[in-house]
């Protein structure tokens, strides 16, 4: 039972980090209808900046610079690349993001080499034990930070002018433009926010028990894809639910791997995708996604 609770809490914690990534993914999709395949490289960029700077300026300033850095990379991708293609087919834009992703990942890998970079977080490998259940401090921090950011984001999305313009532009770009909403600015903000959220996620993907930031971190970030898709690509609620589902599934499948040995090793990495396929078979638009409404 203790194991189960530990795995469940660990899963929720890592799931909330996936939710952060998926949320950025969904924000870009909502604002621009572009599936952003460069999301993992945004995350890597944010993590890299933090990793390089933390020795010189301390962890918290480095984290802030990392967040700002990833936000600027996101904004730069929008401004210098995506904006040139506005009006093109959305699938063309999605492929353009694959190109951007390859460029960014290549450059970052060249800089990192085979190193595993520490981000210098203050939690180290401390653990907390409550009633026999042991949890790493980093996991608790991840859960709290992600929960806080997601709450702030959703409140802003719902109540601020920024949120209103995002939602209006997502629902009907042309009418939003007629109301004087600047679509370019909405899309720029979406990319910047997504970058910032990804940078925070980068921190929690690389702290204990993970060794640190390395090339493979971008692969971990890819788990946000099934999270966003099974939640419904255009739903912020879906991103949260999807993130948690993926996190818990992965954690349980990994934890009980020995009982599932007939499935072979590494089922934990595979499980999120299995859940995604199962969900899509029943609900093709994802759990909270809008069903495709074709208008003639």
């Amino acid at each position: 039972m203790t194991t189960f609770v530990e795995l469940l809490l660990g899963g929720l914690s890592i799931g909330s980090v996936y939710a952060l990534i998926a949320l950025g993914f969904v924000v870009i999709f909502k604002a621009t209808e572009v599936v952003n395949f460069a999301h993992a490289s945004l995350l890597l960029a944010g993590g890299y900046v933090t990793a390089v700077l933390h020795d010189d300026i301390g962890f918290w300033p480095a984290l802030l610079v990392g967040i700002a850095g990833a936000a600027s990379v996101g904004a730069a991708i929008e401004f210098f690349v995506m904006r040139r293609y506005r009006g093109s087919d959305h699938s063309v834009l999605a492929i353009v993001t694959i190109g951007v992703d390859i460029l960014l990942i290549t450059e970052l890998t060249r800089r990192m080499g085979t190193d595993v970079l520490a981000l210098g977080d203050p939690w180290g490998n401390e653990v907390v034990t409550i009633g026999g259940v042991t949890l790493a401090q980093t996991r608790i921090a991840a859960f709290l930070a992600a929960g806080l950011l997601i709450t702030v984001f959703l409140l802003a999305f719902r109540y601020t002018s920024w949120g209103v313009s995002m939602r209006a532009a997502a629902e009907n770009p042309q009418t939003a433009a007629l109301m004087g909403i600047k679509l370019g600015r909405v899309s720029l903000a979406a990319w910047a926010v997504a970058g910032a959220l990804a940078a925070v996620a980068a921190l929690f993907l690389t702290v204990f028990p993970t060794p640190g930031l390395e090339r493979a971190t971008s692969l971990a970030a890819l788990k946000a894809f099934p999270a966003a898709i099974l939640g419904g690509l255009d739903s912020t609620t879906g991103a949260l639910a999807g993130g948690l589902i993926v996190g818990v599934t992965e954690s349980l499948a990994t934890g009980y791997q020995s009982d599932l040995s007939f499935l072979g090793r590494g089922i934990g990495d595979l499980a999120p995708y299995l859940v995604m396929v199962a969900v899509l078979l029943i609900r093709p638009a994802g759990l909270f996604g809008t069903k495709e409404l074709a208008r003639v």
Partner: protein
Amino acid sequence: MATLEIRALSVGYGPVRALRDISVDVPDGGITAVLGGNGAGKTTLLRAVSRTLGFHRGTGTGTIRFDGRPLEGLRPAQVVAAGVVQVPEGRQVFARMTVADNLRAGALGARGGRKETSAALARVHELFPVLADRAHQRAGLLSGGEQQMLAMGRALMAGPRLLLLDEPSLGLAPLMAARIAETVQEINASGTSVMLVEQNAAIALRLASTAYVLDVGEVALAGPADELAASDEVRRRYLGVVDEDAAADADPAARTRRTLSRWSA
């Protein structure tokens, strides 16, 4: 003095010419109607003014001036800031957002601050009390007439000096269409100029002081609304008045131009 001056405007969507060399004046403080059948170029004319042709890959030449200031080359948001706001055809309310949020979205392009926005909201609620009652409902749940009210209220939130209305009576029951017409008059009486695009010529000619009739991308007729309403051609074509004498008197050339013929290209 004209508020909105459109001169020699031609617009095309790729190889298709939608408007050919048209000139339209919308005088300050009045209601100007633009009539015409399907495909006459009415909506294209409004898109050219609100600078949203780009969404439909349209390109235009000619000049559009609002209070002497050229609008061509501006972005849609700048046109709104200049005081020209369009209510799109088919209402296009943000269906998944609440009525209150729709109105907030309308105020995003306004120049004014918080005070102006709350004054505009009070004015909209006064014009359309139903929008206050349903403030927290999703816009998609409103009836067609209420959605038209919301679309107009949303545009008024930006505090326009010129309101562009695209087919406000489209798909509404006659009683609701009449109510919308009344409101248009009320909006105009409070100092907003209106450019009204309509297929329903009876309503439009009753409201407007001047009117233009577009036919396949050209201005076919223009003049004071009451004169147009009395003219045989408008009565026959757009008001559905069948008058045997008038039909016989009408220029036969005009009639042959309207007959369908086999495409030859």
